[in-house]
C-alpha cells in the first residue's frame, strides 16, 4: 500500500495523475464520434498537423504557439471536411494529404528558421511532468467545453453520426455540427498533445472507443464506457510510468492496448462482431448515389 501511495507524496505526480486521467477521459469521449464516423485516421492526421503548427508557430508567434497550433489544426480539420464534401476525394485520402502536408510544411519551416519553443521530443512523446499551469487550465477548459458540447448537442450529434442525410431532413444542421465536432476534436488533440504526445494521441482516440463498442450495443453506454476506459487508462498508465520509468504517454497507450486484448479475450466473437462495422459509415451526403 505504501508503495502505491509513495508517488502521491510528490506534487508533480498528483498533478500528472489528474492531467493524465482527464486527458484519457477527454479523448475517450470524443473518440466515440470519431470511430463511429469511420474517421479513426483523423486523430493520427490531426495530431501530426497540429505538431506541424507547433513548429510553424516558432516562426511567427513563439509565445502563442499553442494558439497558433490550435488554429493550424482547426484549419486542417475544416479543410478536410470541405474537400470531402466538395470533391470526390474520400475522407481517408483527404485526411492523408492535408494533415501530412500540413505536418511537413510545419517541420520544414521549423528546420529552416526555428530554434526555440517546446522541444520536439516532448511534443512527440508527451511530457506530463513538465506541464505548466496554463496547459492544465487549457486542458480543463477544453474538457468542460467538450463535455458541454456532447451533453447539449447529444441528439444532433448521434443522429448526424448515424445517418447524416435523414438528420438533415429532420432539422439537424449537419454541416454546423460536423464543423463544431472538428473544432472540438482539434482543441482536444491540442490540449492533450503535451500529455500523451503526437504519436500516441491517435491511439487514445481510438482504443477506448473500440473497447467500449465491444462491450455494448447502446450508444449512451458506449459513450460512458469509452470515457471511463480512457480515464482509467490515463490513471493506471500514469502510475505504471512512474514505476517503469518510461514516458507517461507510452504507458497510457500500453494500458489501453492491454485492456483491448483482455476485453477481446472475454467478449470473443460477440465483441468482434460488434466492432466489425466500425470502418463502415454512412456517407450519403458525401457520396454520389445510384441516381
Amino acid at each position: 500500500m505504501e508503495t502505491l501511495l509513495e508517488p502521491l507524496s510528490y506534487a508533480f505526480f498528483q498533478k500528472g495523475l489528474i492531467v493524465a486521467a482527464l486527458s484519457g477521459a477527454l479523448l475517450g469521449l470524443i473518440g466515440v464520434y470519431i470511430v463511429l464516423r469511420g474517421m479513426s485516421y483523423i486523430g493520427h492526421g490531426l495530431s501530426h498537423s497540429i505538431f506541424g503548427g507547433f513548429a510553424a508557430a516558432q516562426l511567427f508567434a513563439a509565445q502563442f504557439y499553442a494558439l497558433a497550433a490550435g488554429l493550424w489544426g482547426i484549419a486542417s480539420a475544416l479543410a478536410i471536411t470541405v474537400v470531402v464534401k466538395k470533391s470526390r476525394v474520400g475522407a481517408d485520402a483527404a485526411i492523408g494529404v492535408i494533415t501530412i502536408a500540413s505536418f511537413a510544411l510545419g517541420v520544414a519551416l521549423f528546420a529552416k528558421f526555428g530554434s526555440s519553443g517546446p522541444s520536439f521530443e516532448n511534443a512527440l512523446f508527451g511530457s506530463i511532468l513538465g506541464i505548466s499551469v496554463g496547459q492544465i487550465v487549457g486542458l480543463v477548459a477544453v474538457s468542460v467545453l467538450t463535455a458541454a458540447f456532447v451533453f447539449l448537442r447529444y441528439r444532433a450529434l448521434l443522429f448526424s453520426t448515424f445517418d447524416p442525410e435523414v438528420a438533415a431532413v429532420s432539422g439537424v444542421r449537419v454541416n454546423r455540427i460536423e464543423a463544431a465536432l472538428m473544432i472540438v476534436l482539434s482543441l482536444a488533440i491540442l490540449a492533450t498533445l503535451t500529455v500523451i504526445g503526437v504519436t500516441l494521441v491517435a491511439a487514445m482516440l481510438v482504443i477506448p472507443a473500440v473497447i467500449a463498442r465491444m462491450l455494448t450495443d447502446s450508444f449512451g453506454r458506449m459513450l460512458a464506457y469509452s470515457t471511463a476506459i480512457g480515464l482509467a487508462s490515463g490513471f493506471v498508465g500514469m502510475y505504471l510510468s512512474y514505476y517503469a520509468g518510461v514516458p507517461s504517454g507510452t504507458m497510457i497507450v500500453l494500458v489501453g492496448a492491454t485492456a483491448f486484448v483482455i476485453v477481446l479475450a472475454i467478449t470473443g466473437g460477440r465483441g468482434l462482431r460488434r466492432s466489425a462495422g466500425l470502418d463502415s459509415h454512412s456517407e450519403d451526403l458525401l457520396a454520389e448515389p445510384a441516381a
Binding site: 441528439r155 450519403d284 448515389p289
Partner: protein
C-alpha cells in the same frame, strides 16, 4: 405534368434538372405533391428515382428549374435499408428517439418521450423490441423501426426509398397495409420502387421515371407495354388478373420473332 393528388400543395418541382458533377441524372422534371397524395416513383436502377426523392427532400439542389415547398412543412424520410450501418451501436429506442431533435436538449428521454416511442412502436407491431439492438431485427422490423422514427415527427409528408426492397412477401403486404392506413390518417406518401407487381400496382398513383418523367397517372393509365418499354428499356407484357395489372417479362423468343 403533375401528381394526381388534390388538396393543398406541399411541394412543387417545376422544370428541374439535377446532376452529380457533370453527370446529369434528371432533365426538365415537373412534379407536384399534394396533401392527399400516395405516389410510387417507378423506374429502373440509375433512372433518377432517388435523385427525384432528394429534390423533394431538399438535400439536393436542382441545377435548373425550381423546387418550392410549403414553409412549415414537416417531412420525414425513411432511407433504403441497404444504406444503413446496422452495426452502429443503437437500440431501437435510441434510434426512434433520434427524430426528436427539437425542444428537449437533455441526452436522456423524458417519461413522455418514452411513452410516445412505445406508443408508435406498439402501433407498428414492434412494441416489445425497444431495447433490442437494431441488427437483431428482421428486415420487416427494421423497416417498421424507421417508420416509427419517421412517424414520431408527426409528418405531413412521408418519403420512402425502396421500402419493400429486400423484404419477404408477407412483410411487403404488411408494409403496404401500414402505408395505406397512414395515408387514410392524412399523411401524404411518396415512395420509390422498382417492384412493379408487388408494390407499384397496388398504389393509387404512379410516376414513371427514366432521367425524365415518362408517364404519370393511375396504374391502369401507366402500366402499359409502351410506357414500360420507355421507362425500363425492355419489352414487357401486361396481363389482367382479378382487376389488377400484372407485368411479365416478354419471352426472348418474342423479341427474336419480332426482329427486336
Amino acid at each position: 405534368m403533375t401528381g394526381t393528388g388534390i388538396g393543398p400543395e406541399l411541394i412543387r418541382i417545376d422544370g428541374a434538372s439535377a446532376s452529380y458533377g457533370h453527370h446529369r441524372v434528371l432533365t426538365d422534371v415537373s412534379f407536384h405533391v399534394h396533401e392527399d397524395q400516395f405516389t410510387g416513383i417507378v423506374g429502373p436502377s440509375g433512372a433518377g428515382k432517388t435523385t427525384l426523392l432528394r429534390l423533394l427532400l431538399g438535400t439536393l439542389a436542382p441545377t435548373a428549374g425550381d423546387v418550392s415547398r410549403r414553409p412549415d412543412l414537416r417531412v420525414s424520410y425513411v432511407p433504403q435499408l441497404e444504406t444503413v450501418n446496422w452495426n452502429f451501436p443503437v437500440t431501437v429506442m435510441e434510434c426512434v428517439l433520434m427524430s426528436r431533435t427539437r425542444g428537449r436538449r437533455l441526452p436522456w428521454a423524458s417519461r413522455q418521450e418514452k411513452a410516445d416511442v412505445h406508443g408508435v412502436l406498439d402501433r407498428l407491431g414492434i412494441g416489445g423490441l425497444a431495447e433490442r439492438h437494431i441488427r437483431q431485427l428482421s428486415g420487416g422490423q427494421q423497416q417498421r423501426m424507421f417508420l416509427a422514427r419517421a412517424l414520431l415527427r408527426q409528418p405531413q409528408l412521408l418519403l420512402m426509398d425502396e421500402p419493400t426492397s429486400g423484404v419477404d412477401v408477407s412483410t411487403r403486404h404488411d408494409i403496404l397495409h401500414l402505408l395505406g392506413d397512414l395515408h387514410e390518417d392524412g399523411v401524404a406518401i411518396v415512395l420509390t420502387t422498382h417492384d412493379l407487381n408487388g408494390m407499384a400496382a397496388h398504389l393509387p398513383h404512379l410516376v414513371c421515371v427514366n432521367h425524365r418523367i415518362v408517364a404519370d397517372g393511375t396504374p391502369a393509365e401507366v402500366i402499359t407495354p409502351a410506357v414500360l418499354e420507355q421507362t425500363f428499356g425492355a419489352r414487357m407484357e401486361v396481363l389482367e388478373h382479378l382487376g389488377m395489372r400484372v407485368v411479365v417479362d416478354e419471352a426472348p423468343s418474342n423479341y427474336m420473332a419480332g426482329g427486336g
